[in-house]
Symmetry: C2
Subunit: 266 residues, 2 copies
């Protein structure tokens, strides 16, 4: 069966860099992958497409006036190692709802793109700053079976991660694990390890903060493409392998805010 | 006439610390101030209330089952220098809409709290990570006449600030100015100064990154209360005075993303 996952986390924590590098690693391992960016920044797939920003689904729909008549090749683009990329695009600033956009995008992809059904792995890259019904749409539309949350050892990203767990609990959706994207805060691995343990889910990876990631990003390439023999490329490969393995379907219970403050104040 | 303002910015950039310290400074200057926190974190007023977290309006409404019968003293609390504090509370994680909550809260406050009309200054503290119709509610419900955006010199907060300008442009709402809350990034004051200049609005303050702010926060007090003779208390006083002055009503035009990348890559 198709692996349907979503990657959530606070803005700027490293969702897109992690999702695109994991997608590239899965592609390298021979899997058919589709990556759907749901962040209004629409930058989930840039490093899979040689630095190119693709038209967002909402831009194409707004230009045509309605979703009918949109062709697959106008909204789905093939990137590194055959990864299929699509960007939802953001709400009309100040007036729209991010959730409405994601609903329209999913319905359109289901109509025009065989990849959304045929991919071995379907990945959604979703912001977790605000845990509202809008950003839960990939889950409520039954396109996601398990989620992964990216955090660092600092209070704000951990707070956001915990709030995402509250949403997952309301929606009875499993959390496959926590991914630490390091910011070089003190005791970071220990803090995030204890956070994952308290939630009862595995800490799947600690991705070091590395200039290689930013350098590859500047070249418009994933680490898997631009630095395939680097240590950090292997970190993403190992994470990709862990994402593929079956896990207990643990629906998280959010932790107490006081605990998070103490944990990150170390 | 009542000064009706909103403070927007990316999560974690310093909206609440700035809003509560400016509110305290306005209170010290004899103004009647009401501060309404619209961030799901509901931590806008903690340092005005001696470190106490007050019940959110959404919690009170959910507990009673409907907004009728809620009394003012259940949702509005008086803090340092008489500042009236209210916290909207977040959406039901994963299902609700932050905008719905803000609408319910504003309607309820207008019914039960004379302060919302009688305050000299009405301030909304609103997250700007996602610029959707939900977080524009204080503006669309005509409770805000001018806005202020907080940023640092780093790309992500500047990107969020620019996206907020896109929303303000759609809503034809003036931007009173940019506030730089320093993160000690290289050339920060210059970068944020040029950003404000490119938008055609003043850079109202550069708030230094100071351990005093965090120290006071840990004591559950504003800088105005716990460190009134510090330099940084004066920075907030000067900012409060600038907020009170009349400005040109400039509706911002968002800048090009490429310009933002170049600007912050200095
Ligand atoms: N492991 C890492 N090492 C160094 N820089 C990183 C790492 N992960 C992410 N970054 C950088 O952090 C920034 C934000 O990451 P991004 O993936 O865009 O976050 P998000 O998608 O969560 O908003 C990017 O510029 C990226 O290059
Ligand atoms: N000028 C400053 N100097 C030092 N720390 C600051 C400053 N401004 C904010 N902070 C700290 O940054 C953190 C985030 O600030 P906060 O006001 O809660 O952000 P927001 O409301 O935008 O999410 C807080 O812990 C606060 O103490
Ligand atoms: S559901 Fe979420 S994205 Fe949609 S308008 Fe409400 S807060 Fe904004
Ligand atoms: Mg991203
Ligand atoms: Mg805040």
């Amino acid at each position: 069966t198709q692996k349907q996952i979503a990657i959530y986390g606070k803005g700027g924590i490293g969702k897109s860099s992690t999702a695109s590098n994991v997608a590239a690693a899965l592609g390298e391992a021979g899997k058919k992958v589709m990556l759907i960016g749901c962040d209004p920044k629409s930058d989930s797939s840039i490093t899979l497409l040689g630095g190119r920003r693709i038209p967002t689904i909402m831009d194409v729909v707004r230009r045509l006036g309605n979703p009918d008549g949109v062709r697959e090749d106008e909204i789905v683009f093939e990137g590194f190692r055959g990864v299929k990329c699509a960007e939802v695009g953001g709400p009309e600033p100040g007036v729209g709802c991010a959730g409405r956009g994601i609903i329209i995008a999913i319905q359109l992809l289901q109509k025009v793109s065989p990849s959304i059904r045929e991919a071995d792995v379907l990945m959604f890259d979703v912001p977790g700053d605000i845990v509202c019904g809008g950003f839960a749409v990939p889950i409520t539309k039954k396109m996601v079976r398990e989620t992964y949350i990216i955090t660092s050892g600092e209070y704000m990203p951990v707070y956001a991660a915990n709030n995402i767990c509250r949403g997952l609990n309301t929606l009875k959706t499993p959390l496959g694990g926590i991914i630490c994207n390091e910011r070089e805060a003190a005791n970071e691995r220990e803090i995030v390890g204890r956070f994952a343990e308290a939630l009862g889910v595995p800490l799947l990876a600690c991705i070091p903060r590395s200039p290689i990631v930013q350098q590859c990003e500047r070249e418009g390439k994933s680490v898997l493409e631009a630095a395939p023999s680097s240590d950090i490329a292997d970190v993403y490969r190992q994470l990709a392998a862990k994402v593929l393995t079956e896990k207990d379907n643990k629906v998280p219970e959010a932790l107490d805010d006081g605990y998070l403050r103490d944990l990150t104040r170390q």
